[in-house]
């Protein structure tokens, strides 16, 4: 599905800039520029069938500078971080880390079409920022209330099972250094926004 055409007037510079931007925003060396469009990534992907673009096509869109289409794609959000593509890629592209970069860009600009996955990540992050630890019950309950209300009754046996077996803490645990962590994260966000 291609909803945006490459405008010849934009020229190569604009296109290359998006590729560079994605690559530079990725942790470590992304090697995204090395992609040879072989499709090994999509062929190895357990959730490729649910993606609007396979990873290979997404990387072609990045190279073509089609920023809006790339950031609206559900592909990064369907990535399960299984790293099959990463170890199979003949060019050593850090596919999963590139997906993380695209997620964070899309999350920042709210460019995604479906908010289910970004909301889940945001709720997770909010808990971690508040307590320093993940809080499974709070995360799941909030997420289901917002996105899967109809699944809640069916989930009850599992929730009760987890609780009676002592596998679901009712209250979040807070680390002692939560102020220290907050200061670290505040500066990290400041640096990221400034760069």
């Amino acid at each position: 599905m291609i909803v945006q055409e490459v405008v010849p007037g934009r020229g190569r510079t604009g296109n290359a800039r998006f590729l560079e931007e994605v690559s530079a925003a990725t942790a470590g060396v992304s090697r995204l520029e090395m992609c040879i469009q072989c499709g090994c990534c999509g062929g190895s992907c357990p959730s490729a069938a649910e993606m609007d673009h396979t990873p290979r096509r997404l990387f072609a869109l990045i190279r073509a500078g089609m920023r809006d289409e790339v950031l609206a794609s559900n592909t990064p959000w369907m990535c399960v971080s299984c790293y099959h593509c990463v170890v199979r890629c003949p060019q050593g592209v850090h596919v999963v880390d590139v997906m993380y970069t695209l997620k964070s860009m899309a999350a920042h600009q709210r460019a995604y079409r479906d908010a289910t996955a970004p909301d889940f990540s945001r709720t997770f992050v909010r808990n971690v920022e508040a307590y320093g630890r993940s809080f499974e019950l709070g995360l799941t309950a909030l997420h289901y209330l917002k996105h899967f209300r109809l699944r809640l009754p069916g989930m009850a046996p599992m929730g009760i099972g987890m609780m009676t077996r002592g596998r679901l803490g009712l209250r979040p645990r807070r680390i002692e250094g939560s102020d220290q962590l907050a200061a670290i994260l505040r500066r990290a966000k400041g640096l990221e926004d400034g760069s």
């Binding site: 959730s47 369907m78 289910t116 971690v128 499974e136």
Partner: protein, 339 residues
């Protein structure tokens, strides 16, 4: 006693409580002492880095910085959870690879009075420490209740053998470590081709149909191969395969009952500990009928019965009533066993 720094991770305190309990029972026999990092924080799992990169790496790096500060005699940081292990290992790897990332992360850490020099701690997974440092001979020597006759499907999931930034595992897709460990405990190890396939990760929360299909494949294949249970190293995999097995069955109209335990639970049992001490009973798909194969007591509640085992039980009782009084023969008891 070998001494290591230890990062438990959030799930060890809740959904993977059985991993924590069983882990504590095997450390003594293996001669391992784990020293927990004081006031560690969440590793961010696979979520934080999808929202913003630098804060996510700063979050992980606080743990590395605390570990480096606490390092005394050892600089090896052991993680037991797959996502935690990968996040810590990958962060240290990328901090060494990218000076910009290292500078920014340290600037952020500075706001909390911390600093971290990339490479000052070595991140390793508990399973690899057991295989490499303790060794399979020592494991064999600690076994007092061999798991003979128990057919197990070894299931590692993704994040331990991949992407493996420090090249510690025998293979990215067919690693042998877990198979070797389980064989050393005396178990019959199934050659499980899906051993590093995805359990669905957070898909059960985001796109359930994908999650359920990935879980279905895993339990269907383990069932087809005649495994009594699956054995995992990962809290997320355990949670998906175990806790979401009911919903998966409802989704497909199937009736799989494939228990999944942590490798440390089987180690604890093989080292002679009782089921309760290693967290057996915390799983939603009851593993005790399978564990009857190594002589553990089976619960006899009617709720655990499947239609097949119920029919077999009634038929056996009927036959006993009709039969002439005979002395019990070896093998008679098997009729009332789990299968």
């Amino acid at each position: 006693m070998s001494h290591y720094l230890y990062y438990p991770g959030c799930s060890m305190e809740s959904s993977a409580a059985a991993y924590r309990e069983s882990l504590e029972t095997v450390l003594g026999p293996l001669g391992i002492r784990l020293e927990e990092i004081d006031d560690w924080n969440c590793c961010g799992a696979t979520e934080y880095v999808g929202i913003s990169l630098l804060p996510a790496y700063a979050l992980i790096a606080r743990n590395l910085a605390l570990a480096a500060r606490q390092a005394d005699g050892t600089r090896t940081l052991v993680a037991a959870c797959s996502a935690c292990y990968l996040n810590l290992a990958k962060a240290d790897h990328y901090l060494q690879e990218s000076r910009t990332l290292a500078a920014n992360v340290n600037s952020a850490l500075g706001a909390g009075g911390l600093a971290y020099r990339a490479g000052s701690v070595t991140v390793r997974h508990l399973l690899e420490v057991i295989i490499t440092d303790v060794g399979l001979d020592a494991v064999r020597a600690a076994v007092s209740r061999p798991l003979s006759g128990l057919r197990v499907a070894p299931y590692l999931g993704c994040m331990v053998p991949r992407p493996d930034p420090d090249h510690r595992w025998t293979d990215h897709e067919r690693p042998r470590e877990l198979d070797l460990l389980l064989a050393a405990l005396g178990a019959e190890v199934v050659d499980y081709p899906l051993k590093t396939e995805c359990c669905g990760g957070h898909m059960t929360q985001i796109s359930p149909a994908i999650g359920f299909e990935l879980i279905r494949r895993l339990i269907a294949e383990a069932t087809r191969l005649g495994a009594d249970l699956m054995v995992t190293v990962c809290p997320m995999c355990q949670m998906n395969v175990d806790a979401f097995q009911g919903e998966t069955n409802r989704h497909f109209g199937t009736h799989y009952r494939m228990p999944i335990l942590f490798y440390t639970q089987l180690m604890g049992l093989a080292f002679g500990r009782e089921a309760r001490e290693v967290g057996i009973g915390r799983e939603l798909v009851d593993a005790r009928p399978a564990l009857a194969r190594i002589g553990l007591p089976v619960p006899s509640t009617a709720a655990e019965e499947t239609p097949e085992t119920k029919a077999a039980r009634i038929e056996a009782a009927h036959r006993r009533r009709q039969a002439l009084p005979m002395p019990p023969m070896p093998g008679d008891a098997r009729e009332e066993g789990p299968r």
